[in-house]
């Protein structure tokens, strides 16, 4: 069963990875990805605020996680996405997958983050140190990354 959480609070990656490992004796590999708030030296960031569509977010992410479980025959997977105002260095997202072997665990992790970027209803607004505020634009490269997994 996929574990999906949408929360303002931080999470403990070690605890999440340990929990993925507790998906039965058939687990042979666990992979994970953690997204972190980045500040650019040329455009120093004060904070990042994530807005989401609460009525839709959980079902959209659960759908993505269930697709991953089916496609890659996972023993388990976890997606945690934060919302609210975060600072440079703060964790934004955790995705992890447990499978019998390394390849499905690694591929499922990549699939999960690619699809989250294009199918989960979150929007990022940057507040820069120079006082500017702007909404982050979607990147074509993210659409391309998601598209290589096909539709579904």
């Amino acid at each position: 069963m996929a574990v999906v959480r949408v929360q303002a609070e931080n999470f403990d990656p070690g605890a999440e990875i340990a929990a993925l490992g507790a998906n039965g004796a058939g687990v042979g590999g666990i992979a994970s990805f953690i997204g972190v708030v980045r500040s650019d030296a040329r455009r120093p960031l004060l904070s990042l605020t994530l807005e989401h569509y609460p009525a839709m977010t959980l079902s959209a992410i659960t759908d993505i996680a269930e697709q991953a479980e089916m496609r890659f025959s996972l023993c388990g997977c976890t997606v945690i996405h934060r919302y609210g105002t975060l600072l440079p260095g703060d964790r934004i997202v955790f995705v992890g997958a447990a499978a019998a072997h390394r390849r499905p665990a690694l591929e499922a992790t990549e699939f999960l983050i690619d699809w989250l970027k294009t199918r989960a209803p979150f929007w990022k607004k940057e507040r820069l140190k120079d006082g500017d505020e702007e909404w982050v634009s979607a990147l074509e490269v993210d659409d391309e990354a998601a598209a290589r997994w096909g539709s579904g």
């Binding site: 989401h52 839709m56 079902s59 934004i92 199918r119 209803p121 929007w123 909404w135």
Partner: protein, 86 residues
């Protein structure tokens, strides 16, 4: 048609000046695309939000929807920019 619940996120919320509104729409408004065109003509804020329809995405009852998606009375229709989570 019975009122629709319309929701706005990110810069669409900022430009329309509201997070949501319940509004009855004329009978001619049958699809998401029709609704966008009708909303755009309402006032300056809506016009600014929908000025470039190619940058607007939609969901009907919490499921992503295209401009041809048909609307039913009481639907929840959300408008937002392309998502940028992860």
């Amino acid at each position: 048609m019975a009122p629709l619940r319309i929701m706005y996120f990110a810069w669409l919320r900022e430009r329309t000046g509201r997070a949501s509104e319940d509004i009855p729409v004329p009978d001619g408004v049958q699809t998401v695309g029709d609704l966008m065109a009708w909303l755009r003509a309402r006032d300056a804020g809506h016009q600014a939000a929908f000025i470039n329809p190619r940058l607007v995405r939609a969901a009907v009852n919490q499921v992503f929807a295209g401009p041809d998606t048909a609307l039913s009375p009481g639907d929840e229709v959300a408008f937002f920019p392309p998502v940028t989570g992860g």
